[in-house]
Amino acid sequence: MSPLWHELRFRRDHRWTPPHMSAYLDSDLSARGRRRVERHAADCRECRGVLDDLRHMLALLRSAPPLADVPAIAGAVLGRLNEPADR
C-alpha cells in the first residue's frame, strides 16, 4: 500500500468517523462501518481519544444514580385529583 493511498484513506476516514461514533457505540453500524471506525481509531490518536471519552461518558451517564431529595409528589397529587381540569 503506497504512503499516498494510505494518507488519502486516513483523511477520508478522519472525516467519516466522528459523525458515526454514536452509532458505533450503540451497535447501530454495519459490520463494514464498525471495521472502518475501528481501523481509524487504531491509526488516529485524536479520534481514539474522543471515542474513549464518549464511551467513558456514556458509562457514567448510564450509572448515574437517580436524584436524591424527591418531594412528596404522590400525596400532593392525591389531594388534587378532584380539582377541576381548567386550571
Binding site: 448515574a64 409528589i73 392525591l78 385529583l81
Partner: protein
C-alpha cells in the same frame, strides 16, 4: 430496568382500577413513577420547585387522560411524553435562557469541589460528576439536551425516546449524536482528569 411480568401485570391492574376511578390505585402508580418523572424534569432543566409543580401537573394530566392511554405502549413512556411536553412549554416561556448562564461558570475545573478524597471515594466521584453534569447539560440546546437525558440518563430505547420527543428515529439519532459530542467536549476536562492517575494526599 427490567420489569418482571408480575410487576407489569400489577401495573396493568392498577391502571385498570385507576380508569375506573380508584384514586388509591392511581396514588400507587404516582408513588412508583414520581421519582423518575421528577428526576427527568430536573435534568431537562427545571429547578426543584418547577419540577415539583410540573411533576404534579404531569400526574394530574395523566389522571384526566387515562382514557386516552393506549395499553400497547408502556405507562412510563406515556408519562415521559407528558413530562417532556410540559417541560418544553415551561422552558419556552423562560427564553432567552441560553444567555442566562449559571453563576460562576468561569472554568469547569475551578468549579470542582476541593474535597476530593473525603469520604468513600466512589460517592464523592458520583457527586462530583453530578455537579459537572448539571452545569454541562445547562449549556446544551434544549433539543440536544432532551435527547441525551432520555436516551442515556433515563435509559429509554431509541424508539421510545424518539416517540417521547415526537420526532422520527433518524432525526432523534442525529440530535443524540450532536448532544453527546457537545456534552463530551464540555466534560472533557473531567473525563481526562478522571482517567489520569490522581495525586495522593
Amino acid at each position: 430496568m427490567n420489569q418482571p411480568t408480575a410487576d407489569h401485570d400489577d401495573e396493568g391492574a392498577l391502571i385498570a382500577r385507576s380508569r375506573a376511578g380508584d384514586q388509591s390505585a392511581f396514588a400507587q402508580l404516582v408513588t412508583k413513577h414520581s421519582a423518575r418523572v421528577y428526576g427527568t424534569l430536573r435534568r431537562l432543566g427545571l429547578d426543584p420547585q418547577e419540577a415539583d409543580e410540573v411533576a404534579q401537573e404531569v400526574f394530574l394530566r395523566a389522571w384526566r387522560g387515562l382514557a386516552r392511554f393506549e395499553e400497547r405502549s408502556r405507562f412510563s413512556t406515556w408519562l415521559y411524553r407528558i413530562a417532556f411536553n410540559e417541560a418544553k412549554r415551561r422552558l419556552a416561556r423562560r427564553r432567552p435562557a441560553a444567555v442566562d448562564s449559571p453563576p460562576g461558570d468561569d472554568d469547569a475545573i475551578a468549579a470542582l469541589p476541593d474535597t476530593i478524597g473525603e469520604g468513600p471515594q466512589a460517592r464523592t466521584l458520583a457527586r462530583e460528576f453530578e455537579q459537572m453534569l448539571e452545569q454541562a447539560l445547562a449549556e446544551l440546546p434544549a433539543d440536544l439536551r432532551a435527547a441525551v437525558v432520555l436516551r442515556d440518563l433515563e435509559g429509554l430505547s431509541t424508539e421510545e425516546a424518539a416517540a417521547v420527543a415526537g420526532v422520527r428515529q433518524a432525526a432523534f439519532k442525529s440530535r443524540l449524536h450532536r448532544g453527546r459530542m457537545q456534552l463530551r467536549a464540555l466534560l472533557e476536562p473531567y473525563l481526562r482528569l478522571e482517567q489520569a492517575p490522581r495525586p495522593t494526599g
